[in-house]
């Protein structure tokens, strides 16, 4: 019987090994990536089932226990994140493989596959990690892979990649300074160990502030979100999908790990309210800017800025006392957002390929070849807005329950306003499909119309988006299982 500890080993090693093979032999890139992706998805599912059956566990790398060695945490939340990563990774790979060759400018298609697999492995390492410095190295790994993937789109995407690189490097350095202070105070880098020995004094507070600041930069939380719209809006569709759905989520995941783990004694009402306010402003400001966009992908990118704000609401709601519903709600919402956002970007990618240009005026008329994509877009929008029975609905329901239970009607109002604005801008996007066809007089050279007819687009493009959108809906239908999974945690506060 294969021990369940093999699962995380595969999830870490397989993407890296596949990336090396694909780097050495680019000819086999697509089959190797797709096969590895399928294996990784199966393994992630296996880990989720294992956690549901046996509960969470911890693995010591190299057989060395903390504080000397590094560990891996495999609990409900990390298993769910690993599954999210696998789903988006596979769907994005399928999408990119199905793209018609020679249509859109790509810096060098050969390098997409190793970078994609490297990013996959780095993200898995990040979700499994339980050691603060290991997290730093994994964060840098993910950053460089992301920069490479963004830059593949060429042109203005490279300027966006540069801004992203600067912001993320600054974030990492601040994070590392926090780690240095913590190590100097406690001589421990392991999450569980720190949680036992931590005391709320000045050094710890400064360290917590620095690390949170660094992670906020990486998660593009208001007001540190300046780098995200260009980077996510201009990248290739598959890249935007994984960036918005998983990379941002990973930074948020670590904020949650820290504040519900070692820093829990520091999570006073002021800190919690501050984080919640940042989230609230992100929701409203991001939503407002999304409404003003005229380009489909930029709208979705601003939506990411807005949606991550919901995740931050977990802090004030949990600090006020409603820990269980706040935790379940926020995590479910973040997972649903990941799947739905990836679906939106992939669908938008297919739509833009069909029409040749992403501006709203051009998306009307004959939709043959993009029907599946628009359906996926609609379903994903439903989840993002929070219509029952999607995952988005379940998440917001739990959060609303938490708000009502603690009498925090301010956050409830934020929740409802955010939902309204999300509905508004997504409705605007969907309406673009219903408008009559229009030929734009001045097409920029890079906005070429497709040379072949719409039939030339592979259905796999829309299907990859549809599967993710349906998964986001299924998350809602499977709500009890999801709640049980998220409970199986070493990180759930008592």
């Amino acid at each position: 019987m294969i021990p369940e500890t093999t699962g995380p080993v595969v999830l870490f090693s397989l993407p890296l090994a596949a990336a090396i093979v694909v780097f050495i032999r680019p000819r086999w890139a697509v089959p190797i990536t797709l096969i590895s992706g399928a294996m990784l998805l199966a393994t992630a599912l296996w880990v989720v089932v294992a956690v549901l059956q046996h509960g969470a566990w911890r693995q010591d790398i190299g057989g060395w226990a903390a504080p000397l060695g590094i560990g891996w945490t495999v609990d409900g939340l990390s298993a769910a994140m690993l599954l999210l990563n696998a789903a988006v990774g596979l769907a994005g790979a399928v999408f990119h493989a199905a793209r018609p060759a020679g249509r859109t400018p790509v810096r060098d298609p050969r390098f997409f596959w190793p970078l994609w697999l490297f990013l996959w492995g780095g993200l898995n390492a990040l979700f499994l990690a339980a050691d603060l410095f290991n997290v730093y190295v994994a964060l840098e790994f993910v950053s460089i892979a992301s920069v490479g993937l963004i830059g593949l789109a060429g042109g203005s995407a490279q300027a966006a990649a540069w801004r992203y690189l600067l912001a993320t490097l600054l974030g990492s350095t601040l994070y590392l300074l926090g780690v240095a202070l913590l190590y100097g105070r406690y001589a421990a880098l392991d999450l569980a160990l720190l949680a036992e020995v931590i005391e709320p004094d000045l050094i710890t507070a400064v360290a917590a502030a620095l690390m949170t600041l660094g992670l906020l930069l990486k998660a593009a939380v208001f007001p540190l979100h300046f780098w995200l719209p260009a980077a996510h809006g201009r990248a290739l569709p598959a890249v935007s999908a994984v960036l918005s759905a998983v990379v941002i989520t990973a930074a948020y995941y670590w904020m949650v790990r820290l504040w519900f783990g070692p820093f829990a004694p520091l999570l006073g009402p002021e800190v919690a309210t501050l984080l919640g306010l940042l989230g609230a402003v992100a929701i409203l400001w991001g939503g407002l800017l999304a409404l003003l966009q005229r380009h489909l992908k930029m709208l979705i990118a601003y939506s990411t800025v807005s949606q991550l704000g919901y995740g931050l609401l977990v802090f004030p709601l949990a600090a006020a006392g409603a820990v269980q519903p706040a935790w379940t709600g926020a995590m479910t919402l973040v997972l649903a957002h990941g799947l739905a956002k990836a679906a939106l970007f992939l669908a938008a990618g297919a739509i833009v390929l069909r029409h040749g240009i992403g501006r709203f005026e051009a998306l009307g008329g004959d939709q043959r070849g993009a029907v599946i994509a628009w359906v996926a877009f609609a379903i994903a929008s439903a989840s993002l807005v929070g219509l029952p029975p999607t995952g988005g609905f379940v998440g917001k329901w739990w959060l609303a329950q938490a708000a009502v239970a603690t009498g925090a009607y301010f956050w409830l109002a934020v929740l409802m306003l955010g939902t309204a604005s999300t509905a508004a801008y997504l409705w605007r996007a969907l309406q673009a499909a219903a408008q009559p066809a229009r030929v734009l007089p001045d097409r920029a050279p890079q906005d070429r119309a497709p040379q072949d007819g719409p039939a030339a687009l592979s259905p796999a493009l829309g299907l990859s988006a549809l599967v993710l959108a349906l998964a986001s809906t299924a998350l809602g239908l499977a709500a009890p299982i999801v709640a049980r999974l998220l409970d199986a945690g070493l990180a759930v506060p008592g």
Partner: protein, 102 residues
């Protein structure tokens, strides 16, 4: 040790100041490198203060140096490629987006 601890703080400040007030892309990178050096200095000072000498921060800093040079190399490769483009639009805040991504 006081000297090096203060040096770490001063370097951190110089790096931070340089990062936010730099006019040139390259200078931002240099400031970032100074910033990371300050953090490494803190690690090593703590290693030295511990009794007996703690080798774990040394390993951390060695790893950090390699990661930093990798970041610098990628950043430079990127900077060189966008610098030519950037000259054409000195005040262009990035096309295609409306919002505060200025």
């Amino acid at each position: 040790m006081t000297v090096y601890l203060s040096l770490a703080g001063v370097l951190f400040l110089i790096g931070l100041h340089g990062f936010f007030t730099a006019g040139s892309l390259l200078r931002r990178l240099l400031a970032l490198n100074v910033l990371t050096t300050a953090v490494f200095l803190l690690f090593v000072v703590m290693a030295r203060l511990a009794e007996p000498l703690d080798p774990v921060p040394h390993a951390i800093v060695l790893t950090g140096i390699v990661v930093t040079v990798s970041n610098t190399a990628v950043a430079l490769a990127l900077v060189v490629r966008i610098a030519g483009r950037v000259r054409a639009h000195p005040d262009d805040a990035g096309s295609g987006s409306r919002g505060d991504a200025g």
